[in-house]
């Protein structure tokens, strides 16, 4: 979707405020939210792509006004409600009114450390990769209303395949169709002027990680 989350190239957000040091969490609840999201995603009720989608679909004003961990919290609360894991009444009361339903997995403390390693999203390919390193490719001018990882600033632009990154779960299909389908992933590199016009800094090159359905051979 052409949402507020798709920020690449937007103007007006101002200077980057980078303090020399930050605590790991700015408040105790931030750590709880991070960990709750990790263990609830590990139940298999949703995956990382669905999780992202539920942040992207926050109302734009709320998205901009919320801190990172507040977004994570609202996403978790909404997903738990949508999946029927909890009720609004239970959240309001702060207590369960009855037992939960049976989940595929509940993460015990003894298995929590394993969640700290990033999951591998490789899938066996259905066909050989269509493109090779060095190919000139053009990204599609596409505007799906569902989830996509092709950012707006890089649609309809021509670049070069720099790397083939393997075959991965295709996020668009995960969210739109509920299936984990394999697609080849490529690093596609664009000249800054291709993205930002002839006056852009000629020393800048920008890459995206593009799934095969996002690109076609350049004409």
């Amino acid at each position: 979707m052409n949402g507020i989350h798709d920020m690449g190239g937007m103007d007006g957000f101002g200077k980057i405020e980078a303090p020399p040091a930050e605590p790991p969490f700015h408040a105790e609840w931030e750590g709880r939210v991070l960990a709750l999201n990790r263990v609830m995603q590990a139940t298999g009720e949703w995956n990382i792509d669905v999780g992202r989608w539920w942040i992207e679909t926050l109302p734009p004003a709320e998205y901009l006004a919320s801190s990172y961990y507040r977004k994570w919290f609202v996403r978790l609360e909404r997903l738990c409600l949508a999946r029927g894991l909890v009720t609004k009444e239970e959240i309001a009361a702060g207590h369960a009114e009855g037992p939960g339903r049976k989940l595929r997995r509940v993460v015990p403390a003894s298995e929590a450390a394993a969640l700290l390693s990033r999951r591998n999203y490789d899938l066996a390919p259905r066909a050989a990769a269509r493109f090779k390193v060095g190919d000139r490719v053009t990204t599609k001018n596409m505007h799906p209303v569902s989830h996509t990882r092709l950012p707006r600033f890089a649609r309809g632009r021509t670049g070069t395949i720099e790397r083939i990154q393997g075959c991965h779960v295709y996020p668009d299909a995960t969210v739109a169709e509920g299936v984990e389908r394999p697609e080849w992933l490529y690093t596609v590199t664009f000249d800054g002027r291709e993205l930002w016009g002839p006056d852009a800094d000629p020393t800048v090159k920008v890459s995206i990680e593009a799934f095969e359905p996002y690109i076609e051979l350049a004409k």
């Binding site: 937007m10 408040a27 263990v39 393997g166």
Partner: protein, 214 residues
């Protein structure tokens, strides 16, 4: 816990403080419900939080970079397949697959961003700093990376290629900054002290030799 919360409120606006209190209550309510339902073991949460507070941070990436600076064979392996190369170091926590190391040179400076969310190599750098997840960084880096670098006090030669990597998939990137001059013969441990988090994101450079801890 309460102390930590209070500490945070010092120097901040009153409204911010009340928002935090509201969030404390909401998060506690949801955690309680999920725990009573049997979906969550609160001790599992403690394990994850403690790991990010105490164990997983940019010191891991710094160790990797320092080794790459001193061991050409390791550097070659790291640039070919960073996940695999780091796997040989016997770190406490396994690093995820598809980690890609990007080597800065005199000619090319790499900088990493996630314009769509905030993808970040947590397993080698720890929790992302707030600015990495902020709208200014996510919006500007792909369009005006030199101005972004200026916000970090970094000015590069006008003819250096600036190579921006937008983390739009499940690949992750760590920048190997240039080794500072005057560090010949230094131990890996001492060199690691020069490798900052920002240098491994690409918004900074490694500290100079005289910036090292004595």
């Amino acid at each position: 816990m309460a102390d930590k919360h209070d500490d945070h409120d010092h120097g901040h606006g009153h409204d911010h403080g009340s928002e935090l209190s509201e969030m404390q209550l909401r998060v506690r309510a949801l955690e309680t419900v999920l725990t009573e339902k049997g979906y969550v073991d609160p001790k599992a949460l403690d394990v994850i939080i403690e790991a990010y507070e105490k164990r997983i941070g940019p010191h891991i990436g710094a160790k990797v970079v320092a080794k790459a600076w001193t061991d050409p064979g390791f550097k070659q392996a790291l640039l070919a397949d960073a996940s695999k190369a780091i796997g040989t170091l016997g770190l406490e926590q396994k690093v995820g697959d598809h980690l890609i190391a990007l080597e800065n040179t005199k000619d090319t400076h790499h900088i990493v961003v996630c314009t769509l969310c905030s993808c970040y190599p947590w397993d080698v750098l720890g929790l992302p700093p707030a600015w990495y997840k902020s709208a200014p960084y996510r919006s500007r880096t792909v369009k005006e990376p030199r101005a972004v670098l200026a916000d970090f006090g970094v000015t590069l030669p006008a003819d250096t290629t600036i190579r921006v990597w937008d983390s739009t998939a499940e690949t992750r990137f760590i920048v190997v900054p240039m080794r500072p001059a005057g560090t010949e013969g230094w131990s890996e441990e001492k060199l690691a002290g020069l490798v900052t988090r920002d240098a491994m994101i690409g918004t900074g450079l490694a500290k100079s030799a005289d910036g090292a801890a004595p």
